[in-house]
Assembly symmetry: C2
């Protein structure tokens, strides 16, 4: 069964790992392709850093740090040196092991390889059990228009997210380079050939929203033969992790499982969702979501451990199969 996931960082990575492990444990024959957001990428100290690609790669490779990003067993001797020179960004830590990845990536990029080929090369080491594709080989960088002390300025997404913990009110997000970006090789094909397209519990604005913003990808998902099933990143009116509420507010969407589903929209109404999983906390919204043309299910959505994550992955697969079967019947 060919499954395509559109993923951001931590939430997308953990969900994908759970799905992969479920598939292995039950011999489901899953063939996973993860289209990863690269809108958070940045040049830092002459190095190309791809936060979401690395989070997905490290998580699937079994070397993710406990905090959900970076490497386990990490140190920061190099960053300490940069700081001793009065350089480096004090709000962005580059661990030594992680730095090995950034150096390797930068070297390969400078040798002329596109990011998709570089990603494939790096993944030879980590054997993620899934094909990782950047959404695009072209550089897209998310910048955030914020108000600070009465002035409007624009800062890199990572500065807003990591340094300011998304606490500066965002007026809007600007995806620099997105209009001219092309989907990376294999992205449109994977979506077209998929048996199921999944939107894991990633940020609907700056992760999945950015992927869908690459010209061609939104249309590919809308036109996919496979059902499209999403997992709500919002539980009880708050993001499970991260600061998706600040992003949703900036684009005028209420932070709720139902409103995010409506934001994606039902495929029958020109949107992209066939199915949507919400947490038990939001079970009361199931009816309204169905009314909007999206089949919904309520279940525990906290990915608190392997078993919980496997249960969510199973529910997404089951809903996808049901939707495909009902479509065939029609």
């Amino acid at each position: 069964m060919k499954v395509v996931l559109l993923a951001g960082g931590v939430g997308g990575a953990r969900f994908t790992r759970g799905l992969r492990d479920l598939g292995r444990a039950e011999d489901l024959g899953l063939d996973l392709t993860v289209v990863v957001n690269t809108g958070d990428d940045l040049w830092l100290d002459a190095l190309r850093v791809c936060p979401d690609l690395d989070t997905v790669m490290y998580t699937l490779g079994g070397v993710i740090g406990e905090q959900g990003w970076g490497r386990a067993d990490e140190s920061s001797r190099v960053t300490a040196e940069l700081h001793a020179y009065g350089l480096g960004w004090d709000w962005f830590t580059l661990g030594d092991l992680d730095l090995g990845t950034h150096l390797a990536r930068t070297e390969l990029l400078r040798s002329g390889l596109p990011l998709s080929a570089v990603t494939a090369r790096l993944c030879e080491r980590w054997r993620p059990g899934a094909t990782l594709l950047p959404m695009s080989d072209d550089e897209v960088e998310t910048w955030v228009e914020v108000e600070a002390d009465g002035d409007v300025t624009t800062i890199h997404f990572e500065e807003w997210w990591v340094r300011h913990r998304a606490a500066l009110p965002a007026r809007r997000f600007v995806q620099r380079g997105v209009a001219g970006a092309r989907p990376a090789p294999g992205v449109l094909e994977a979506v077209a050939e998929a048996d199921l397209v999944l939107l894991p519990p990633s940020n609907p604005v700056v992760s999945i929203g950015t992927i869908l913003g690459v010209p061609g990808i939104r249309d590919a998902v809308r036109g996919a033969a496979a059902p499209v099933v999403g997992v709500s990143p919002i539980i009880g009116g708050a993001p499970v992790r991260g600061m998706a509420d600040a992003c949703l507010t900036a684009i005028g969407v209420e932070t709720a499982a139902r409103t995010v589903a409506e934001h994606y929209g039902a495929r029958s109404a020109g949107g992209m969702l066939d199915g949507w999983l919400v947490d038990d906390t939001d079970a009361a919204d199931v009816h309204a979501i169905r009314e909007a043309g999206i089949e919904a299910r309520a279940l525990p959505l906290l990915m608190s451990d392997q078993a919980a994550t496997a249960a969510i992955a199973r529910a997404a697969l089951d809903l996808g199969r049901e939707l495909a079967a009902s479509r065939t019947r029609r």
Copy 2:
């Protein structure tokens, strides 16, 4: 007393440290400027690496590794990562702390600063007690024409030196970029204003020879008002350290204290040496060197410890003072 040194890596760094420490201990009021060879510099994994500048900076900063290069208390976690990705050069180790310097340098270079300004910025941290100047802000890279398996190929100097331990016979050295290189800001001025110019026991071909190859520097040294005194890097027909013999052979110069002095030449005969210190082992050559127009002294030249190095530095200063006095008398 203004002293200018033209230095390569380990030998130049240790001699300069000895001179600086002597000056401090005896309150000699030395004002040291070290013009450092940058012909060994290279781009490695997207980073600009300057082996000699770093060796001089770390040595004077008190953080040099025991082996004479790199940092003390070093680790290599980042390099291990690069190797795990099948990348990096297995014969060139970039330690983690050292890497901090390369990253800092590369970032500053990419921000638009010339190497001389970058060097000054890095030295703010290490307080070397001397002004470090790269020979040039322009990139000069030494390549070596070697014969291997009957074929003639050209490899970067560091590959020849570090990987092959200079064991592949060198046919010639090519200093790429040297013809168009300009002396870094301050180099010609320092030589012109010096009270003494010293050639420490650095490689006469690929360290001091490269510095002198930058258009303008050789003429500045030849025309300096100050005496020029060198310390032989050859003791008893062999280099004290490193593989200068392989370099001398390539340019057709016998590996001996006397022949290296003759290679530099007497200033009275259009060369650049006024004085030359040889080891006691080579005391028999003193007469011949004087006959060639270069004042020579024999003394122990092994920089085996601080006291030994201080004695050599003192002898160089003394010879310089004598030469200056005798010149004034003339």
